[in-house]
Symmetry: C2
Subunit: 198 residues, 2 copies
Amino acid sequence: MPATGQSEGRPARSKRADALRNQQTLLTAAAAVFVTSGVNAPIREIAARAGVGMGTIYRHFPTRADLVVAVYRHQVEACAEAGPTLLANADSPLAALRQWVDLFIDFLVTKHGLANAMQSDSSGFDALHTYFLDRLVPVCTQLLDAAVNAGEIRPGMHAHELMRGIGNLCIGHDSDPRYDPRRLVELLLRGLQRPQSS
Amino acid sequence: MPATGQSEGRPARSKRADALRNQQTLLTAAAAVFVTSGVNAPIREIAARAGVGMGTIYRHFPTRADLVVAVYRHQVEACAEAGPTLLANADSPLAALRQWVDLFIDFLVTKHGLANAMQSDSSGFDALHTYFLDRLVPVCTQLLDAAVNAGEIRPGMHAHELMRGIGNLCIGHDSDPRYDPRRLVELLLRGLQRPQSS
DNA sequence: AACGATACGGAGCAATGTTCCGCTTTGTCA
DNA sequence: TGACAAAGCGGAACATTGCTCCGTATCGTT
């Protein structure tokens, strides 16, 4: 047996348009549901949110882990792409940074859930984590630099450090309903601001 | 309101004998089931194994986490107490160490499961983890020292290091049925052995 | 022995996971 | 364009599991 299947140059007749659409819809819907109900949200709920049947989900993502991983990658991508856009449209670099961090926090919910969904397959998880850093650190750096150059925040904070800090603040997100990571992150950012000239 | 309830010096009429018995039975049964089916084993299964009804489990341990934590402490205790006993009864210190490590691995299944069951409450988990180290490192050290003194293994290995290594080998235990941590740990121990005088 | 407190068991209900198959949509080819 | 096969969809139906509730059994005390 030479090589593995799937080769055979054949285009394999690319997927149908509706299937592709559904896949996107599902990723978005799942991401949203994960934020509100955690990564263990009932499949039914995700299906309802996406407006599709459960069978559809199972066809695209046979396993919950599959779905979570897919959402994860999707989110990393979205987060990465959002950076420049926010920077271009926001009132100020700091405002852009704030908005980006907000997206980032949503994303962390998935990320942390992923760690559980993948409990054990640590090698696979590490791979995703590397991808995550490679992709997002530059974006975050760019936002930070812009804010520094605009004189809005003090220099010296590294993106990696900031992201790590935010990530840690978001641990334990669903154990205590009174624990609100966003509030704490807000404090963090405020602490980063350069003292206003009164 | 002075202090919190529960005080009132009263013995509060200690638990009934059968309740105590059942609690022990449950801890043992749950530990066994955790090893074979993981910490997410159906409550029914544990109840059946223990020969009690599900209601009994829920009365003693309202939450799955409660049960896992209880088993965890129970296991730490058992592991700690087993050390000296094994040392006294085994053919050689190294044999004792082997047997102890075997118990330890069983225990790790619970421990790793616990980390998930407690996902989020990291402070509570840290407390248990400290307890775990405080209690077991001395025992492991004693076993190691004995084997070193008997000339069976080479010196220089710290208990903490060994336990950590074994712990890491046991990660990913249930992702791949072909992955057998015990086999790898066995290799580790073999590597620790002092080369036999041929 | 009698009685109140405590604990037990497991049927039953609700929530969720997963499968399966008839129906719909899509893409292709004449 | 019309027809047809393949691909995909939806959601009912079944399977599994969590959790509660209450009649019954057991225990400890008087």
